[in-house]
């Protein structure tokens, strides 16, 4: 067994209505302590109103070796951007 505490990914909601965003990671022996470490590390300057921690081991990541087949095909599909919609000025965060 590793002597290091497991790693947890930290997500912060900066204000009500916004999505949680990944901000980094912390070590912690369990979920409760990891949450407190996340609070003390990432929200000490009023950065957030809500916190998630997720065991890093639970994140399923894409394999960098598959980058070409995963992401390159999207490169020349500009018609997938809905640029012809007018977004009202007072709608933010889109």
């Amino acid at each position: 067994m590793s002597k290091d505490w497991p790693l947890w990914e930290v997500f912060v909601r900066s204000k009500g209505g916004m999505a949680h965003r990944h901000v980094g990671s912390v070590h912690g022996p369990d979920a409760e302590i990891a949450l407190r470490h996340a609070r003390d590390t990432y929200t000490r300057r009023m950065e957030g109103v809500s916190l998630w921690v997720v065991p890093s081991a639970q994140i399923i990541a894409s394999d960098p070796r598959d980058d070409a087949q995963m992401f390159d095909p999207a490169e020349d599909k500009i018609y997938r951007h809905p640029t012809f919609y007018n977004i009202p000025d007072d709608v933010t965060h889109i």
Binding site: W5, V26, H27, G28, P29, D30, E32, I33, R36, H37, D40, T41, R44
Partner: protein, 281 residues
């Protein structure tokens, strides 16, 4: 025109108990002022000394995350100390501010409880001290939020949220170390043993505290004891630890009778401002 009734002694007593901030034409009451000053020193010094102690962990904690947790608590406490000591200086009215009180007093003039000046020891001992102190401070600040002095009430009401977090975090660590490995359990047991004898001082009602209580500045700390004991009992049960056996209580911090540890702490804390008086940065 009828003359005003004479002022009876019992009327004077009522007048002396009126709230100084708000009462129209309230007489400057020297006894009130010195009681309030004394209690503010106790509050400020408790936070200042424990903040300084926790600051000693900076760069030395078991992990970088714990380092930040301890520094955060330390900074919360120093913030409280700044408020309480600045107000103490204002109440005293001799031109001293929070910095002067923190950095230009000597050991005998400090009014903190003995618990907060105890050495950090290992992480378990530090967390044992934190739980014993924060659980008390939380219950005290809950009550101080209703102090007859609006300024004290405002500081306590703001700080109590910080302290609630300190109490919870310390409790979580006591539980994990107590109900952890053989080594962490032995260390937590030793840590609690070291700190336990300083609990009675937190609940001591000396003359100053009784005066402050009579003036509505201070709660009856007897009433905090049940909740405090219950909280410790809950944490210890979850940590699968027994409460240490009652030990001979050690008192005296509130009168300036400190352990030898405080002098060393103050020497480090005051070195810079005493060497370079009025330095700014």
């Amino acid at each position: 025109m009828p003359s005003l009734p004479p002022i009876r002694p019992e009327d004077e007593e009522v007048a002396l108990k009126t709230r100084p901030s708000g009462a129209f034409d309230a007489p400057v009451d020297e006894a009130h002022r010195s009681t309030l000053f004394e209690m503010l020193l106790r509050l400020g010094d408790d936070s200042l000394i424990l903040g300084q102690r926790l600051g000693e962990w900076c760069g030395h904690a078991p992990t970088v995350e714990v380092d930040l947790s301890l520094a955060n608590i330390a900074l919360d406490l120093i913030g409280q100390a700044t408020h309480f000591l600045n107000l103490a200086g204002e109440v005293e009215g001799k031109g001293r501010d929070g910095d002067t009180l923190a950095f230009r007093r000597d050991v005998l003039d400090f009014r903190n409880c003995l618990l907060v000046e105890q050495p950090n020891g290992d992480f378990a001992q530090t967390m044992a001290r934190q739980l014993l102190f924060s659980a008390w401070q939380k219950r005290l600040f809950d009550q101080l939020s209703a102090s007859s002095d609006d300024r004290v009430a405002a500081i306590a009401a703001k700080a109590v949220k910080e302290v609630a977090y300190h109490e919870e975090l310390a409790g979580e660590w006591v539980i994990r170390l107590g109900d952890g490995t053989d080594e962490s359990r032995a260390r937590m047991t030793d840590g609690l043993d070291w700190m336990w004898r300083f609990i009675p001082e937190l609940f001591e009602i000396d003359e100053q505290a009784a005066n402050a209580q009579a003036r509505g500045l201070w709660p009856d700390v007897d009433l905090l004891r049940t909740g405090y004991d219950a909280r410790l009992q809950t944490v210890l049960a979850e940590a699968t630890l027994e409460a240490p056996k009652p030990q001979r209580p050690i008192l005296g911090g509130r009168r300036g009778h400190h352990s030898e540890h405080l002098g060393h702490l103050i020497a480090v804390m005051q070195f810079l401002p005493r060497t370079y008086p009025d330095a700014v940065w």
